[in-house]
């Protein structure tokens, strides 16, 4: 459809400026610094704008529209009530530099949330500052780095990351100034303990794990891994992307993890917003408390909340101000809405859904690793090879059935991977329908593979030429 710029006309407007209620003064700025050429922003009337976005919204798949089993992304239902709260003026229109007395309500939300998240993860202290999961990872890595430096370690330059890890893990470790060492997964999809032992030495600063890992499998050797790491004075880092499997059931802090980040936009149901904003709080064990980024919310003896900037060994500040407050607020609403009872049940149902779907799909597809999974599982798409069909084709065909494909080609260690996370907010009815669609497409792959290779048919556009896009790099109108 047309770009908004193509609908622009000099004489149209979507906005009028109010009458100026004061006299104009002369412009004192040197003419050199006065803009001559106006930016080519569109001049469009309201109805055109409204229809433009009405049309654009229709082009998107979304959780509200249908099933969205993107593995590792936890595309669960995002409560409308939480959005409504986040739109209250008394939360939304607070200036970050207001007097603390005029934002006690918001500070209390943050204070409570810090404690709830600490409780859920089994950690002692939490910072709400990081803006996203990867930002939390960087925060955690910087905490580890500074702590180890302060402990006098001179050469802890390495971070161990499994080959199944999210791409952000090695990237964040690198941004924190570490070198990344990859550890292979074994035939059961877990960290290969032998190789892990071989790689481990005193130069290792940290081990970054996701548990359950990106295959949806619980790292059963976690206590051994933890002991080995700690014996080498390395810290254990928990990537919380998969926390939705374990709320109230397993606490990373109880399994040896020293630092944890969470993705509130996954586990705690804040909307993903087409790619963000997220929020990536970081929890640490007490001994790392003094390394958290500033500020942390605390209260004084009279119960007045304030931002504590006086954190002795703080790594510094990770972003401006205090965090993505409106995301924090939504997560707070979600947690209280579910309660300790509901959070636990949510994780249980997420795991139930995943195992049910895994089991049903295993009847006609290849599940990469057998046995119980947690909140997600991975299909090895190479079983389609005999029909000359790729996972990409399978995924594109799913679009024709109105459901979003799973994450594909990740984790990298599974050939033609499809990583499926149904989440707990989907009903058995929906999941059964989706299983039928998987089955139908598998049949189509056998009988009429062109249907997959030429798919999608029913989407607003057909397959797009990514090569051309990357070659020409036309990134603006």
């Amino acid at each position: 459809m047309s770009l908004i710029f193509e609908k622009s006309s000099e004489e149209r407007t979507g906005f009028r400026i109010p009458r100026l209620d004061i006299e104009k003064t002369e412009i004192e700025i040197d003419n050199k610094y006065i803009r001559k050429e106006e930016p080519k922003l569109p001049q469009v009337h309201e109805l055109e704008i409204v229809r433009h976005y009405d049309s654009l919204e229709r082009l998107n798949h979304s959780v509200d529209k249908g099933f969205y089993p993107l593995g590792s992304c936890t595309m669960k239902y995002n409560p409308i009530f939480a959005d409504e709260i986040a739109n209250w003026e008394r939360f939304k229109f607070i200036h970050p530099y207001q007097d603390l007395n005029t934002m006690q309500g918001s500070l209390e939300v943050m204070y409570n949330l810090q404690h709830y998240l600490a409780e859920i993860t089994g950690m002692d202290n939490v910072t709400l500052q990081p803006a996203a999961g990867a930002h939390g990872e960087l925060t955690g890595m910087l905490i580890i780095k500074k702590y180890l430096e302060d402990q006098g370690y001179k050469n802890k330059t390495k971070v161990i990351v499994p080959d199944s890890a999210h791409g952000t893990n090695p990237a964040s470790a690198k941004m924190a100034g570490f070198d990344v060492v990859e550890v292979k997964s074994n035939e059961y999809g877990r960290v290969d303990l032998e190789e892990f032992k071989n790689i481990m030495d005193e130069d290792v600063a940290a081990v970054m794990l996701t548990n359950p890992n990106t295959l949806g499998l619980f790292e059963k050797d976690i206590l051994k891994i933890s002991k080995i790491a700690h014996d080498h004075h390395a810290l254990l880092y928990y990537d919380g992307a998969n926390l939705n499997a374990i709320m109230g059931k397993i606490r990373p802090g109880d399994n040896g993890f020293d630092v944890v980040h969470l993705n509130l936009h996954k586990t705690f149901s804040t909307p993903h917003g087409m790619g963000g904003p997220g929020s990536g709080p970081v929890g640490v064990k007490a001994y790392l408390k003094e390394y958290l980024p500033v500020p942390v919310v605390e209260h004084d003896e009279e119960g007045k909340f304030y931002f504590n900037y006086d954190i002795k060994n703080s790594i510094g500040q990770m972003r401006s101000f205090y965090g993505n407050f409106l995301v924090l607020l939504r997560a707070y609403v979600y947690i209280l809405s579910m309660g300790r009872d509901g959070l636990k049940k949510a994780s249980e149902m997420a795991v139930l859904n995943a195992n049910y779907m895994r089991k049903k799909l295993s009847e006609f597809m290849t599940v990469a690793y057998p046995g119980l999974c947690k909140h997600e599982f991975v299909i090895e798409g190479s079983f389609l090879k005999k029909y000359n069909v790729k996972t990409l084709d399978f995924a594109k065909r799913m679009l024709d059935y109105g459901i979003h494909p799973s994450t594909i080609y990740f984790p990298l260690i599974v050939k033609e991977a499809m990583m499926i996370e149904p989440t707990e907010t989907e009903s058995k009815g929906t999941i059964d329908e989706v299983i039928d669609i998987f089955k139908k497409i598998t049949e189509e792959a056998k009988k009429n593979p062109r249907l997959l290779k030429d798919a999608p048919f029913s989407t607003p556009v057909k397959r797009l030429d990514e090569l051309k896009a990357n070659k020409e790099l036309k990134v603006r109108f």
Binding site: L20, T25, P96, A171, F218, G339, A346, Y356, K474, V475
Partner: protein, 448 residues
């Protein structure tokens, strides 16, 4: 056991599903874990919407905000008018509950919006390319410094002292692990602008970039062209810009900027206690492969129909892992959407008109304050919608008294600059009314 609106499973369905899986109960699904948590989490029991609504009302009652109080405070987050369309369209659930456009065919809404966003930000800054958003202004600046070092392989940055203090802090956190040196360039004590002499002295062969505000933290318009002239060829000029100011001020791209970043909040985003808003990130085209974050490009589908996809993904962490340009994954797409709608609504003419009204209001405020003779000029330089001014009394007491009058007074610069006793940073926008200004002047004159 309560039933949960977000959990659809019936007992019978659970039973059926367990049977299919081949386990006896839900606990068996966790039979492979270590240290199963046996206690109840120490957080409250689930609350009904009615109770939760009341709880949040009670909390909100302890907040006050810039739509119920008058405000003269900016310092990085600004009280601009947000047209009704911005939130109403932004709240569409097809935008809110979609994720990263991994499947382009069912994400053309997202992708086209981001493409339009990139176009608008490029236009605003006068740069050739833009990514589709960062977390905020501060991390954008930090990433810009890192990017400059990737481009010219030099390991030192010079940051203007008059950059927003929080941006300096964040940048330090980001660049230290990369072993990038940094130093601060003084501002001219009289004008508040960058001290060109100091800049000259500090540039050396290791210098990768210099970072300067436009306007700077004092609201002052830096002479970007003069700074650019001082820089050796390879040294990159990073400009941290206020996007509303760019409706009135010459685009940094026309004054020599190599990278232009900034805080996007003024464009249709609520202050939100500082987050979420977004950072914008634009540069010259030749640096695009070193840019952090997601970038959307135009292409065609199999039938030649135009469409949009993510491009240059090989820069990104999910492909390149520890070799990526940044670890950023989630961006702030939804906030960028709000900015896009905002710029659609106001248009180029609206942006210009708003910018000029900001200018007029701020200068009217400055003039009126000086007329009270309770204030005296501090820096003497051109400013946009914020300015520094020295109060003859105790600024903290004044601000407390203003709070009692339901006004958030000016930002107190002593918070960041010890020597700036009673130096106030005042802000005015298109929403600052004559009435606000006359109240304030009457108040400082003791007439109220």
């Amino acid at each position: 056991m309560p039933m949960y609106p977000f959990l659809p499973h019936t007992k019978e369905e659970i039973r059926e599903m367990l049977d299919v899986i081949g386990v006896n109960n839900v606990d068996e699904l966790y039979s492979d874990v270590t240290n199963l948590y046996k206690d109840e989490l120490n957080i409250p029991e689930s609350m009904s919407e009615i109770e939760l609504n009341q709880h949040l009302k009670d909390l909100a009652a302890n907040n006050r905000h810039i739509r119920e109080y008058g405000t003269f405070r900016g310092a990085g987050i600004y009280a601009h008018y947000i047209p009704s369309l911005v939130y109403q369209i932004g709240a569409k659930r097809g935008f809110l509950t979609a994720y990263t456009p991994y499947q382009a065919e069912v994400s053309q809404g997202t992708l086209q919006i981001m493409y339009e966003f990139q176009t608008m930000m490029s236009e605003l800054t006068g740069m050739e390319v833009s990514n589709s958003s960062m977390y905020d202004g501060a991390t954008s600046m930090a990433e810009a410094i890192l990017m400059a070092s990737r481009v010219n392989k030099k390991q030192k940055t010079l940051i203007s002292e008059s950059i927003h203090p929080e941006y300096k802090n964040v940048s330090e956190t980001y660049i230290k692990p990369q072993n990038i040196e940094f130093d601060y360039i003084k501002y001219d004590e009289k004008t508040g602008r960058l001290d060109l002499e100091d800049l000259k002295n500090k540039i050396d062969s290791k210098t990768s970039s210099i970072v300067v505000g436009y306007p700077n933290f004092f609201g002052i318009i830096e002479h970007l062209d003069e700074i650019k002239e001082m820089l050796p060829e390879k040294v990159m000029m990073i400009v941290v810009a206020n996007p509303i100011a760019l409706g009135m001020l010459e685009a940094p791209g026309n004054l020599g900027a190599d990278i232009v970043v900034g805080e996007g909040q003024p464009l249709g985003n609520a202050p939100a206690m500082g987050g979420p808003s977004f950072g914008f990130f634009t540069s010259k085209r030749k640096y695009i492969r070193q840019m952090p974050g997601r970038i959307i490009g135009e292409t065609v589908d199999e039938q030649g129909k135009p469409g949009y996809v993510m491009v240059l993904q090989t820069r990104e962490q999910h492909i390149r892992r520890d070799k990526s340009t940044s670890n950023i994954c989630s961006n702030h797409a939804h906030n960028a959407l709000l900015a896009t709608i905002y710029l659609n609504v106001i248009g180029k003419r609206g942006l210009r008109d708003i910018a000029y009204q900001n200018y007029y209001k701020a200068h009217y405020l400055a003039k009126k304050l000086l007329e009270t003779e309770k204030f005296e000029p501090f820096f003497e330089a051109d400013f946009f919608n914020e300015f520094t001014i020295k109060y003859n009394g105790n600024l903290k007491i004044l601000n407390n008294k203003l709070l009692d009058q339901n006004y958030f007074g000016p930002y107190d610069l002593e918070k960041n600059y010890d020597k700036f006793k009673n130096v106030a940073l005042f802000c005015a926008t298109e929403l600052t009314s004559k009435e606000d200004v006359l109240f304030l002047t009457a108040f400082v004159e003791g007439l109220i």
